[in-house]
Assembly symmetry: D2
Homo-oligomer: 259 residues x 4
């Protein structure tokens, strides 16, 4: 594939810290071409380098410096097959749905659709099999979608945990219970994120919603895809071998890298 042709992709929420990371990685990717960048109305119309407050270690990739930022509307992303969404949770829901309806493949870092019973929550090394849910997701539209779908990634903390858990389950069989303690970097909270007055010479022993997310997402990812009585596919949440997950999440004064 990557020899024959490259794939045009877009980034939603391109000026945020997640969008910046998408851009930094995609700009060096062998298969993908950054074709369109979307952000809020405030940024739309400006060259990317002027619209963004760049917070990454490496410089803004030259290839996007002069790209004019668009609004996050499907008609502005013509020519893209895939969009990566780094949108904030307060706007991601309906925008990602509009892109799906317009037949884009949407890969989202936002939490909005993670709990959707038809949206796979994918950690590639663990549950690529969950992509099998996509046909059912498309069939819920009228007429059914041909190419559009939404797939989300997992919370950053969950991702690091399910990989070894999946390996342990593969080797030794179902796990019954699991206690997780995280020490998470401030970059995970975005920008401006954690006020320095709260975290310098301190740890913050609670991250709102994070513990609950880790417990719920771990079950969705490690569980299988079953068929319900009505023939519809469902994520079974590890139901046949109940798995108790207990997470305790802490913020620590480290810039990057969760533990």
């Amino acid at each position: 594939m990557h020899e024959g042709r490259k794939i045009n992709v877009g980034v939603l929420g391109a000026t945020g810290t997640v969008g910046q990371r998408f851009i930094a990685l995609l700009s060096e990717h062998p298969f993908f071409v950054l074709h369109a960048l979307g952000a809020s109305q405030r940024s739309a119309g400006k060259p990317y380098a002027r619209a963004v407050t760049w917070k990454q270690t490496k410089y803004i990739p030259a290839v996007v410096r002069e790209v004019v930022v668009q609004e996050c509307k499907p008609e502005c992303f013509r020519g893209c097959e895939i969009v990566f969404s780094g949108l904030d949770a307060d706007v991601a829901g309906p925008i990602e749905e509009a892109f799906r309806r317009a037949e884009f493949a949407v890969f989202s870092n936002a939490k909005n659709h993670r709990r959707d019973p038809n949206v796979p929550l994918i950690v590639p090394l663990v549950n690529a099999s969950h992509f099998s849910m996509i046909p059912q997701q498309r069939s819920l539209h009228n007429p059914p979608l041909q190419k559009g779908f939404i797939v989300t990634n997992a919370n950053c903390s969950t991702t690091g945990v399910v990989i070894p858990l999946a390996a342990l389950e593969k080797a030794f069989g179902p796990i019954e219970s699991c206690m997780i303690t995280t020490m998470q970097a401030i970059s995970g909270a975005g920008y401006p994120g954690v006020p320095s007055l709260d975290i310098i010479d301190n740890i913050v022993p609670y991250i709102g919603g994070e513990e609950e997310k880790m417990e719920w997402e771990t079950l969705k990812i490690l569980g299988g895809v079953s068929e319900g009585e009505d023939g519809r596919k469902i994520f079974d949440m590890h139901a046949r071998q109940p798995l108790r997950v207990s997470a305790q999440c802490n913020r620590v004064p480290v810039i990057e890298g969760h533990t």
Copy 2:
């Protein structure tokens, strides 16, 4: 005075970090009684302990825990002779003026009136003589005020600098030039203030407006009060012995205490 009677005082902006510091200090003061607390409409009507996100090292003084927060209107502060203002600069201007007009003595930590040619910028050890401007300030109202006035303190960085400069001038005569480099704690930026992503493992070599404030305020404080041609008093900005002040202000990852 403090034997005969105590003075009722109020705090404007009581839920902010400056207001909290006023309350922590005033609650233990031998002359003053905390009589009224004012904050935004959002906080008004709530007991202080519920309205505030307390950020001081010591606990909320018991004496204010149950005090119901008022709006920042003069009629809510009846019974106070003095109000201390920890208001944000975006609202401090007109509120402080309303309290002056209502015959309150207003001592403000906000920057709004620091440059007012009739408002003294006081550092008690240095220029208490500038209080002599108050009668002129009152006379500008029609009818002239009897008791109301506004006095401001100086920027925290300026305060630390003018004290030794005044001592040097007293000992050796006028200074010609002065270079200042500060390393300022994050608490000076309020809350949420400096994002932790900006300051952990870093210094921020610029604080917006701070350098200009230090240069300007230093001249106002170290200068005298002269009489203009029209008989009006003016702050002479150290004009007879021009003093060049050059400040370079840095934010450092220290919670409290400027250097």
Copy 3:
């Protein structure tokens, strides 16, 4: 007791960070009088304020500033009934034994005797009953000691954990297993302790020996004192209800206060 008379006490290792903490606390204690301070030969003979590199938040207590530091020999501590040892582990063992033999009550923060089968490892709220081991400890000397003994405290991390565990066991019966994750402040490593290059913008996910200490000490403290077949008392290490303890200890860039 504290009304009738006060007790003279000494501090071993008085110039170290633990010794400093002993002194800060004892100088304000209602029952105790700081009577002698001991440190290495290098410090002996100097007034305390000159011998010490004081690292506490509060100032050196006035009462010890001029006290001349002694060597850590029993004959230098005449007049003391109790000595508190903040000695480094590399010298604490034989010095504390010498003081016991000279009939001092030795309360030690050092780890050297924590595993001694006749030395109680006391967390006051949890296992004060272990003081019952002291007569046996004295009887091992020839002739038996009249007043001398050694008691140690637990590792700082262990102390915080066994208190709630003991409460849970009291309420619900024996615990079977327990997973502990700590985030420990740098002050616990003494001075100079953790190099700043290792811990700024970082956590250090291992503290040598700490995990093993927490696992072992927890069993000694939560277990009872039984009688062996030969009639001798033994710490039973929670043997009747085996308790599995798993600790994972991390150093975090926080000055004081373990989590």
Copy 4:
């Protein structure tokens, strides 16, 4: 030169943080080949990867991992034309002199010879002309050296300052006075270097010897090379246009990068 042949070089003090930095840079250098590594007797005989506690961001260069560390004696560095010295100041003096005597070109980061009246203190963009002192340095040996010499770099803080000062002098003529305030990273203090208890949530407003070094080195570097009455060359320390330098050096909790 770099096309025709590469130059074999050695590193003295190869296991220290300065030596590590030399190795990281030299391993990617187009002209130089890392030929020999020297360290203390404790490390000598071990493969470099086992002898070193590597503290750099990048991995140990593959090319040195298996190189056996030598003692810092000239006979162990046969085949090298140049040695770079990252030795600690407490041993650098005589070792570097031994290598000079053995006809090596010694480039040193140590402070020991910086004040030597025959050793240039070079900041390449500023005073490459000072290399003209080398013939006189060689001539002081009996018989005169053919190839050996010592050149030192400047203190890290001095280096950053003299470059703009030299540019200013070039554009506007001699500077009369100069005030310097530094905020220096902890990496400059080596490893273990600054204890974390001293620098977290703090700045340390004094670095022993640093201010004096900046003031002295700046004069040596910005000054010229003159001829004394006896025909010998001397560094004139900016003597014809006296330059007053006042430095105030602070340590800040930043890992890398002085300000």
